[in-house]
Amino acid sequence: MPILDFLSPKNGKKQKVILLGSGALSIGQAGEFDYSGSQAVKALEEEGLEVIIINPNIASVQTNKGTNKKVYLYPITPFWVEKIIKIEKPVAIISSFGGQTSLNCVIDLEKSGVLKKYNVKVLGTQVNALKLSEDRELFAEKMKSINVPIAKSHAVSTVDEALKTAEQIGYPVITRSAFALGGLGSGLAKNSVDLKRLTQAALMTSPQVLIEKSLHGWKEIEYEVMRDKTGNTITICNMENFDPMGIHTGDSIVIAPCQTINNTENNMLRDTAIKIAQNVGIVGECNVQYALNPEDYGFYVIEINARLSRSSALASKATGYPIAYIAAKIVIGFDLLELKNPVTGTTSAFYEPSLDYVTLKVPRWDLSKFTGVSKNLGTQMKSVGEVMAIGRNFCEVMQKALRMVNENENGITVNIFKDASSEDLDKELLSPTNLRVFAIYETFKRGKSIEYVYEKTKIDYWFLSHILYLAKVESELFNFFVKHSEKKDLFTAQDIYNTYKKVPKEHLHCLKSKGFSDFQLTKIFLLACLSGQTKLSIKQIRTLSFGIRKLRKKLGVLPVVKQIDTTSSEYPTKSNYLYLTYDGIHSDVSPKKNTKSVITLGSGSYRIGSSLEFDWCSVMTSSYFKNKKNDSVIINCNPETVSTDYSASDRLYFEELSSERVLDIIDIEDPKGVVACMGGQNPNNLIQPLSEAKVNILGHSQKSVDGAEDREKFSAMLDKLGIDQPEWISAVSRDEIEKFIEKVGFPVLIRPSFVLSGTLMNVANDKESLEHYLSLTKDISADFPVVISKFILDAKEIECDGVAKGGEVILSLVTEHIENAGVHSGDATMVFPSQKIYTRTVNIIKDIVRKIVKDLNLNGPFNIQFIAKENDVKVIECNARASRSFPFISKVSGVNLAELSCKVMNNERVKKILIDESEIPYVGVKASMFSFQRLDGADPVIGVEMASTGEVGCLGDKFDHAMLLSMEATQIRKPKKGVLISAGREKDKIKFMEVIDNLYKLGVPVYATRGTAKFLEDRGYKVETVHWNRNPRAVDIIIEGKVDFVININKNLSVDELHNNSEIRKMAVKCGCSLLTNLEKTMAYLRAYDSYDELQSIDHCISL
């Protein structure tokens, strides 16, 4: 029986099913759920169901409008889900495709009886089983009853209990908190001091903490399991962490399939995974994590996730088996034997993929974006994205992945530890940070043994021996050149060609198959033979590396294209899921040269500043060209994305977004054109090298892009057009900086080209903070200039997104920031249609846009940012590419900006589109999600450097509604216990009084720091004063749980002020309080309380 009876259409009407998303992206819960959700939607629609999506993540593909789909951009909370249940009357709800957020929501709905009341069935794994995988004590009992070993552990609910338990188990111990995602509140305690600190923090957000024996140094291994309702079960993939136990899986380098375990170990763990799935009662997908003793066959189960996860997305991309798609079919009633493996189309879905390649996931950290954060890795996840490399040997995938993850062509040979002392290297090996793999490489380059590194890292010999090999190859190659080539001041690409001609062809092939890029090979030569004084830029080295490319083409040292087909070629397939390797002689596919393809360059790893929204743009682009009967090709390397779902394109190259690899693919595809402006800044950076290689870039010309991106050129153009801009200078000396500041005065925005520590961009309020920030940069010189610009206080920030064709604006839409200028546009709260901008300002802006578009001759998507004070409008920057607001504006306005951009790039006829923004029936508010809770030590303040990890976009009948919803969806909740206020400058306090009554109406106690307290008392408000350094201390109020809402506005951006307040902010985040640090955002939010009751009692919800 394929589909469950109650899901089949009644009286010709489709049945409705709710699919919960995961909300805003945050550390530990990211884009992978858009991928699994989108696959689920496809699987459900195919079976004649109407899908109701609840997910405020407006930039996701799953929240696109569809014919058999309704989208509610609402917070994923029992309250809103119940409301939507009441409206839509679905027959069922699915919890397993939206991560921990949706799982917890469904557990709550079940507990409160809502599902029973409305007769909504939970599809897939039932709530009892879900609880089993979430409540660690229950889980431990269950495992015991089926003889599955789990690490000795104890659930505790007080610090004292924790200390007692640890004494029994013996230190070191690991703490984990129940009901948490991404290992929040987890850590390694070597002694009672550590343990006290960890449990105190964990117990603030979770009622239960688990104390476990530490398995530091054991292998960490994971299995992805699928089980149908008849009990038939398969394991789709296993994965092994390069980093042994002690580092969160999300922060570990992961290889799939497992490489250092033997057949017995594999089947022992596989059998156990199946046994667990059977006994827990999984219907659909789950994963099982193990710690495996590297010294014998002993193992423990660490945890299971009874839902789709980051690992399942990775496993899907690693194997080609569409786990979420099949899981969705299973939860609506299909059995595995009834389904076909979609990759082959002919064989059974009851199948465990066989791979003839390896994949390596490397996490992406953006820790330098956060002030004060600890860079050490542990049991709490810190990475914000990941990449996956595919190849036929370990060296190849390691090299590829390390180039992919930081868009750095140096990869493993980057030499960041070149000048490090051996003590520093040892320290890095022992207490790893995000850079450990580079330290291992450097240690090997210095001649240390595998044993030496193993003792410190416990990373398996097999992995280490390959890194040693790479280090040796680099050294030998270097020595070869020192011996055989002359030192010179200058080299040409032809010199590089001649040099590598001396290397035997089979050795050149071997270098390529071990993953060395042309860039790296060029650089190794230059390190050996370029005279000491000459320094070359990345661009120059890249140009020289074309010598190797030319040589390779002449010699026939070229990569081959291989398919990912789930069967290792046992059966023929037409799989369009491809990768390139030098470890092979035969290509599986050779695209027909007569069907000219269009290549869309994806965005690479998610990171701060480039996330889901650019994947949305890439997917829209690919499907546009697919619909236009072009061969639509995607290149991307991020396994969490929808764009790397092989059904999103006609051909998917899961590959590096480097100029070398993209040109390799262009040689194979001979495309009609390449789209580089839809995947954010990463592919945009490839326009220059690709254009030089005579590739047809669709959309903006390289000249237009250069004109927008080159600060000097852009500024000169603005001057020419008579458009105002904040004063700025690219300073190469202290002298220049001082002169500039004398002229414009403080505050100024500082942007060095290189920082040793801390964040790149900062605002200096006075001489002292200027000195402080400059001290963090390298010496200022012509090589490392510092850009300084006048920072304008109390100005509004406005953006204009649009599409141009041939220098004419086709569509332009204006969005308004709620925060004043000074908050990075990626962190700002945005409103569309704009609510509070003078018509006159809008007109000025649109006029400026027309001029800029004309002068740059833009031909595609663009985004221009402004600051406005009264009607004084200045341009900050222009991006000749799609911006992160594209999905938000497209969904609110109803005009798909991505699709419109594609029409322009495809030379379709397009008419000017004039939208009367006042006709749009609702207001959208886009708000940012921060993940400070996971970033120990980071100051959770928002500023000029972007720090958010995700965003939501909610709709309302009026601004207040949308504002309240988007705040709720980003974890800002109405205070229940108490509020702590520090309201900033005198004039901020005066302004704040406009909304103070809305706060007092809530009837909760109000605490304030001295200045603010006095200010409030003077005006007759009841308030308790707290202090920095004496009792009652502000931080204590938070620790004691007397407040759950903290408003903390800086007086200014001076170092002292930031430091004082940062303690309060950090504690607020640690203790799970709602935290607002921006005056305008706080005011907008509090003002919206006027409509709070109205919104809660509303009986309709807005859907797309």
């Binding site: 038939n232 064989t347 066989s354 040997n393 081959v560 046992e570």
Partner: protein, 379 residues
């Protein structure tokens, strides 16, 4: 990989010459001899030592489709016997040679043994690394029948006394082992009793994997391993296993006849595995056929009838039972979910059963180990 120097040109080349005229170049690994055999591939990602010692690969050159082979070395080769815990399915390497993409020449697994290459050298088995195994698998898949030669530069031919049937071949000739009765080459020479228990199982050794014996002993049985040409009428036992093995089931001299005469008529429980399944089917009157490239992997999906319970199975066979030849009194027990081929037979009234896959796994998944329980339960 440890001591390999990048600019060391010292490695030796080897060629894989195929009967369809294709010639591939790679790096010689293992022993310095040239061999010939039937080209087969296995898509299992682990378990290379189990596969290489599996007598069913006898006379074949095994291509590992997975790109990284040898990662965890080879455990205790010298101490191998029926009771050795894992890694070996017979006392020596049975494949003629192996073809891999990337070979790892270390051994750091806690089982502590030797590296794959050293093991091959010791056992006089050659191989080639650095081959595009995916391409080779496709070539084998498309060719149907393919024979090959591993020819290391300047190597001497294989010692023909290694296997009895090799005497039929000239040096440099492509070898098709399935033309011959391979039983004399693979079966034990003497009857042998191992394990202790209240029930006794007779294993007709057609090239049996050790794990069959291990599992019977673990389940409390005494096992008597019988040479293939034993007079079965003289055997006293509570049940039979007809083992796996190499070659064409029809090329086994009078074995089928003797199974029919002495084993079936004993009315004791019988379990046929792989080749044993085909032999039992032939003895029942059913027919076998040669598949275009067979099943050799750890991920063959099979399901039982009529309950449709599905299992992941380990397989290694070229021949299969023809579905429409199943005789009255017998029924289809298991079917392959990918290509509907016959995966198991069961007698409707008598305790006779047989499976095409390997319930003893090793290597591969243990999903069907319950079949061994079932046999022991019937004794």
């Amino acid at each position: 990989m440890k001591n390999e120097s990048f600019f060391d040109k010292g490695y030796k080349k080897a060629y894989l010459e195929l009967s369809n005229g294709i010639k591939l170049e790679g790096k010689a690994i293992g022993a310095d001899v040239s061999v010939s055999g039937e080209m087969v591939f296995n898509t299992g990602m682990l378990g290379y030592s189990e596969a290489m010692t599996d007598p069913s690969y006898w006379g074949q050159i095994l291509v590992f489709s997975f790109c990284l082979i040898g990662n965890y070395g080879i455990p205790f080769p010298e101490n191998g016997d029926f009771f050795s815990s894992q890694g070996h399915e017979s006392s020596s390497i049975k494949t003629q040679g192996i073809i891999v993409s990337d070979i790892y020449s270390g051994c750091h697994h806690h089982d502590r043994g030797i590296s794959l290459e050293d093991w091959m050298k010791k056992q006089d088995v050659p191989g080639i690394a650095g081959i595009d195994t995916r391409y080779l698998v496709q070539t084998i898949r498309e060719s149907g029948n393919l024979w090959g030669r591993i020819v290391p530069e300047g190597a001497k031919p294989q010692n023909k006394s290694k296997f009895e049937f090799l005497k039929h071949f000239e040096d440099g000739e492509y070898v098709d082992p399935s033309k011959f009765n391979l039983m004399p080459s693979v079966s034990t020479k003497e009857r042998q009793i191992i394990g202790r228990g209240s029930k006794k199982v007779a294993v007709i050794d057609c090239g049996a994997k050790w794990n069959i014996m291990r599992m019977l002993i673990e389940r409390g049985c005494e096992v008597e391993v019988l040479p293939w040409d034993t007079d079965f009428s003289t055997v006293k036992c509570d049940g039979w296993v007809i083992s796996n093995g190499p070659g064409d089931p029809k090329n086994t001299a009078d074995l089928v006849e003797r199974i029919k005469k002495d084993v079936l008529t004993s009315n004791k429980p019988i379990l046929g595995i792989c080749l044993g399944h085909q032999l039992l089917a032939l003895a029942s009157g059913a027919k076998t056929k040669r598949l275009s490239h067979g099943h050799r992997s750890h991920n063959q999906p099979v399901f039982s009838l009529p309950d449709k319970k599905a299992y992941m199975s380990s397989q290694n066979h070229r021949y299969a039972v023809e579905k429409n030849s199943i005789q009255a009194g017998w029924e289809l027990w298991f079917e392959n979910a990918n290509d509907d081929s016959v995966e198991g037979l069961k007698h409707k009234t008598k305790p006779f059963m047989s499976v095409q896959f390997h319930p003893e796994a090793s290597s591969g998944p243990n999903d069907t180990s319950w079949i061994m329980d079932k046999l022991v339960g019937l004794l």
